[in-house]
């Protein structure tokens, strides 16, 4: 199935905007990059955002032309969200990180990606640049997972990369992985979004979590390197189009509880959304690669339970917030995540057992 403007537009926040006169020639038109934005700007663009987008696009073009004298000049906005603006020009991707990003923390994360090019896509330059008050970074383009063919999702590669990341010694000055903080932000936005019948079960599920999972106290594990925001949009093949799979997006990377990185697929499986065989492939590949987040054998849920609850609550909170903003009911998939939250309140969380190797 070819991605259409209609179903890409359903992604809501995704936008595409082109500054290249030869737009019909764009090589990326049929090659999606994670959440490929298609459509036109339908929400107000602030006066501050216009120069940022234009200048980020110009920077991406300049960086691309510096890398290749024969540039096909294909440009596209890959993502335009509050937490990051991402622009592609041919073989180069430029990202303006979220406002308020800590420069030292980002520099540490970029340096780490530079040092582990077999796990993380390495940036073109390890020092972030300043553009209109936003920190920016530059990356080689990689081919993403095809959103129209999630059955071809590289579960084994994702699990193996995570296991390798989790076994990599963490630099002493790396900040904490930001997963719990992002979950807490989603819950905060749900609280501000106004009344909704599904808000109560989500908040009850959130209340079952220990304080570390709600970002109220530091995480219990501060020695393990974690990605912090794993989903299928965080994997690319580099060099494009058929190089090895690598992880992208270092914004949430840091030290913490490694089970957090397995918890999104775990939550999808628990909610009845991810088929058992795909979950089994992911978990088996992680164990095969000696990943330390779960015991090598037996029930993985004592380790996964708390992070999977947190990510289920986060996903449900985002779904309810978006449905409220759009004035639409929850769809069947969103409702199944809310239903899982509802069941959590009746079952106390499992305690992770120490299975450190």
């Amino acid at each position: 199935m070819r991605r259409t403007a209609k179903n890409a537009g359903a992604a809501g926040e995704l936008r595409r905007h082109c500054f290249c006169p030869a737009s019909a020639e764009h090589p990326d038109r049929t090659v999606p990059y994670g959440r490929v934005p298609v459509g036109t700007y339908s929400r107000p663009v602030t006066s501050a955002a216009v120069p940022l987008l234009a200048d980020l696009t110009a920077k991406a073009r300049a960086a691309a032309h510096a890398r290749s004298s024969a540039c096909p000049c294909g440009a596209a906005t890959l993502a335009d969200r509050p937490d990051g603006l991402v622009v592609r020009h041919a073989n180069t991707v430029a990202k303006a990180h979220a406002p308020g990003t800590d420069p030292a923390a980002l520099a540490g994360r970029l340096t780490l990606a530079t040092h582990h090019p077999d796990i993380l896509l390495p940036p073109l330059d390890r020092a972030p640049a300043d553009l209109h008050g936003r920190l920016t970074s530059f990356w080689p383009y990689g081919t993403p997972v095809d959103p129209d063919d999630p059955d071809a999702a590289p579960w084994e590669a994702a699990a193996t990369l995570l296991a390798r990341l989790h076994r990599t010694p963490a630099p002493v000055d790396l900040p904490a992985m930001r997963g719990p903080r992002k979950a807490a932000q989603a819950i905060g936005r749900l609280r501000e979004a106004g009344p909704h019948p599904a808000a109560a079960p989500v908040l009850r599920a959130w209340a079952t979590l220990p304080p570390w999972a709600r970002a109220e106290v530091p995480m219990p594990d501060t020695g393990t390197l974690c990605h912090g925001d794993l989903h299928l949009g965080q994997l690319v093949r580099h060099p494009a189009p058929d190089g090895p799979w690598l992880l992208i997006d270092v914004d949430d990377l840091g030290v913490g509880v490694p089970a957090w990185d397995l918890a999104r697929p775990a939550a999808w499986y628990a909610c009845g959304l991810l088929p058992p065989d795909e979950w089994t492939r992911f978990l088996a590949a992680y164990r095969e690669a000696d990943g330390p987040a779960v015991p090598a054998e037996g029930d993985p849920w004592p380790a996964l339970d708390v992070p999977a609850r947190a990510l289920t609550a986060q996903t449900a909170a985002r779904a309810v917030t978006k449905a409220l903003a759009a004035g639409r009911p929850l769809d069947e998939v969103e409702q199944s995540v809310v239903d899982a939250c509802d069941r959590m309140a009746t079952v106390p969380p499992q305690l992770a057992q120490d299975h450190a190797k």
């Binding site: 999702a153 089994t280 069941r343």
Partner: protein, 96 residues
């Protein structure tokens, strides 16, 4: 109460009017005297009311899932196999 097997605390649940205790550690289940019979009786009533269809053949046992998970074999796992993955879930797979 404490689990006789692993000593973790046990929590009480009500299943169709039958009180059962489940261990928060090993997830074993403790039944009081007569509770197994109550469950068997309830199951028999259920079978008489609507005989359940024979279980679908399964090549491998389902991997473990948390107690708060969707019921296995329920509607949740249907419709996601093959090439008809739900569009909303397809989007969720790629979302923070």
């Amino acid at each position: 109460m404490q689990c006789p097997k692993c000593r973790a605390p046990m929590h009480t649940y009500n299943r169709n009017g039958v009180q059962i205790e489940q261990c928060s550690g090993c997830r074993g289940i403790f039944l009081d005297y007569g509770e197994l019979e109550s469950l068997t009786r309830l199951e028999a009533q259920w079978s008489q009311a609507a005989p359940p269809p024979p279980p679908a053949p399964q090549a491998y046992p389902a991997p473990p899932a948390p107690a708060w998970g969707a019921p296995h074999g329920g509607h949740g796992h249907h419709g996601h196999h093959g090439h008809h993955r739900n569009k909303s879930f397809g989007h969720m797979l790629f979302s923070s």
